[in-house]
Symmetry: C2
Subunit: 433 residues, 2 copies
């Protein structure tokens, strides 16, 4: 029997704000960062890794929250976790005193994601499989048993979830074969940061097309005239058939969002992302009704399954952009994948940042094999930054993610990167400040 | 000119779990706690105090988050804050890197509440007024200028807010006179904690009636048979005319909540509080439609104005139970008071815990004088615990709160209480562990 012996966390920050990588209308100067968690065991050489993504100041709060969860993890046996995954998850997010600080949102939920994902990484490593394959090898019953249906049972109960998964068993081998051969469809955000000058955006977009990308996302929302000009530029580069998505990062009011999207409509955006507050389910529903056929996408700040449930019940979105560590880790991601399937909406996970691409590829491969009712419109977000810091970085080809092959969740950072970017004592920060 | 010179925070925890004070179906063993914030200035003897309420583990995260906000406060001039209150608030909650950790929810928002409330305490102290009177002496224009309408303007814009406030100017003197003479209506929760035996609940309820309380709340949701028995007992003590409220603290599913409330309906509960997840706007709406005439009350975990906006838009509640430090402090409370007025729903703030009664009395007195369109159904929650630790504790008489008289927000803790209950180094915790 193998048990967890310790949980530790470190604050790692990359100074991305120095180059305006990742700049958008709400977040002008992010320093892509991570509260990075290591779980040790008494198994020889067996550790698990997880992180929660942040953008600089406050990462120390997530590190401290991971420390607060550590007593709930120490001593747990891995076999017992596998035998009662939902119980394990509820043990973490259900600690009543820590739960008060959310509940199931904010710093404690971000930190829960890091430790929960580290446990899944650990289990997949122990099984010698990449996480997506570890998940795909679970039976429908085992997947259902990993989900906490609390507060979502009015939309999806275990029986219905089992039906959905069972219905997707036929054809798995063929879907797997296609995914292994071609990879998983994706789109790229790397061209369109708000802080980039027009010439850089145009050049990066042309480069992306040359690399085989068929769908590009750009940031909007600071200035309408700028947005119109950039959309025109990008649409010209893309031609009429490739997809152009736009992302406002929450900066609008409801009626303003509707007007702004109407002004961009001539450039045929495929979706408008995060038009208003990520909490505003009813606002998204109103916008969606007004801007169709432009789709509404949201989810990177949607903090738990209860919020996604309502976005789906209210018909407030077209595209489910779940985040691997805004939600409380793999268990809650499974809940949202199942909810999306129940409402027949495609999941296009939020990525970029640092580590998010590494994370979500596993979730989307599993979704494609075992959950999603149809492939239509399913894409993984891609951004080109910071992959060099991971031991098992993403691999893309012609606008697709290739299947991860190494055991685990691909989220382990290189030790030398941790040493270099550790905050505040790493060389990058000592010399900068 | 007076400026802020420093911000500090301390972790104070009261071992309430030892006596099951505060126990409910979701929170079996809370240790009522506070991340307590002191803001210093260069004005002689002028400091401001604020806290955010927690229930034990994780309070250190809120302390660390207050520390993270400190650089945004140091050097600010009090006159400049008063001249642009909404701008001040947005400076705190809008820091893009810290905002990522919410946004506007969880630990960072709880901590924002502590510092924002400390600033209002400071301003009221400087003016030599209790906070409720400092607020009531603002012009309607000044109140509107303290509110950030971002992401709520589809439900309430500044013009409409000004109209609402202006309509309440007539009759203020008379309302003030009544409040000063009689106090503000209230109800008590001190009798009905889930961890108390039946005999204790019956005895405490009888004592409360003898003290003049006309409305009592009890906790439900762990066991239906227990709840029926306790409701019967309490209804017998209360007689047919006094109010009995029940509070499930989020433990039910939607359909379960409806069935359970129907089972308690013979005892005529005035409201059902927090039946399901506090994020579940649509679930509350469904429950409300099914259990009328029992009212639906929620809000203590409603984390920002965008959520309250939707609860009101969806007609999902009857009673707005805003929390003084779950929302981002006074500025956001003002937004929700105005939203509630716009939708003509009574505000009955969440209190109890430690310091919440001290806080919310100011908000309700101001609401009664300057915002609420009608007094019907407006009550302040009351719990008897921990008031002895405050320098300006609440005073109640015959089921009413008496108007606070000392300058500020009444939230300053006694230094000797801080020394005794400071975590982990106070004597109470050193000897206990």
């Amino acid at each position: 029997m193998t048990s967890i012996t310790g949980v530790s966390a470190v604050d790692v920050r990359f100074p991305t704000s120095r180059f305006l990588d990742g700049s958008d209308a709400m977040n002008p100067d992010p320093d892509y960062s991570a509260a990075y968690c290591t779980i040790t065991t008494d198994g020889p050489g067996l550790e698990g890794y997880g992180l929660t993504f942040t953008i600089g100041r406050g990462t120390e709060l997530c590190v401290a929250a991971i420390d607060a969860f550590a007593p709930l993890l120490r001593g747990l046996e891995l076999d017992a976790i596998e035998a009662d995954q939902a119980g394990f998850w509820r043990r973490i997010v259900g600690d009543s005193q820590l739960r008060w600080l959310g509940p199931e949102k904010g710093v404690v939920h971000l930190a829960a994601a890091a430790v929960v994902n580290a446990v899944w990484d650990l289990l997949a490593r122990r099984a010698g499989k990449p996480l997506w394959r570890y998940l795909a090898d679970l039976t429908p019953q085992q997947v259902v048993a990993a989900v906490d249906f609390r507060h979502i049972s009015d939309a999806l109960d275990p029986d219905r979830a089992l039906d959905l998964l069972s219905a997707r068993v036929p054809g798995r081998a063929a879907r797997l074969e296609t995914l292994l051969a071609k990879g998983h469809p994706a789109y790229t955000t790397s061209a369109g940061w708000l802080g980039y000058p027009d010439e850089k955006i145009e050049r990066l977009a042309a480069d992306a097309l040359a690399d085989g990308w068929g769908a590009i996302k750009m940031k909007v929302g600071r200035d309408l005239e700028d947005d119109v000009r950039r959309c025109r530029t990008l649409r010209a580069v893309l031609g009429p058939d490739r997809l152009l998505m736009v992302d406002a990062n929450q900066v609008w009011e409801v009626s303003q969002a509707i007007d702004w999207v109407h002004a961009l409509a001539p450039f045929e955006p495929y979706w408008i992302e995060e038009p208003v507050s990520p909490d505003d389910i009813l606002g998204h529903a109103r916008i969606r009704a007004a801007v169709a056929p432009v789709r509404v996408a949201t989810g990177e700040h949607c903090h738990n399954r209860v919020m996604f449930k309502q976005f789906l019940q209210a018909d407030a979105l077209d595209v489910v952009q779940l985040d691997a560590c805004r939600l409380g880790g793999v268990n809650e991601v499974l809940a949202v994948l199942l909810l999306a399937a129940a409402f027949n909406k495609p999941v296009c996970p939020h990525a970029g940042g640092v580590g998010l691409c590494e994370y979500v590829q596993h979730l989307s491969f599993f979704d494609a094999i075992a959950v999603a009712p149809a492939p239509d419109g399913r894409m993984i977000e891609h951004a080109a930054h910071l992959h060099e810091h991971f031991l098992d970085p993403i691999r893309t080809r012609a606008g697709h993610y290739l299947a991860p092959e190494q055991p685990g969740f691909s989220i382990a950072l290189r030790p030398e990167s941790i040493a270099e970017f550790r905050f505040p004592d790493g060389p990058v920060w000592r010399t900068a400040r």
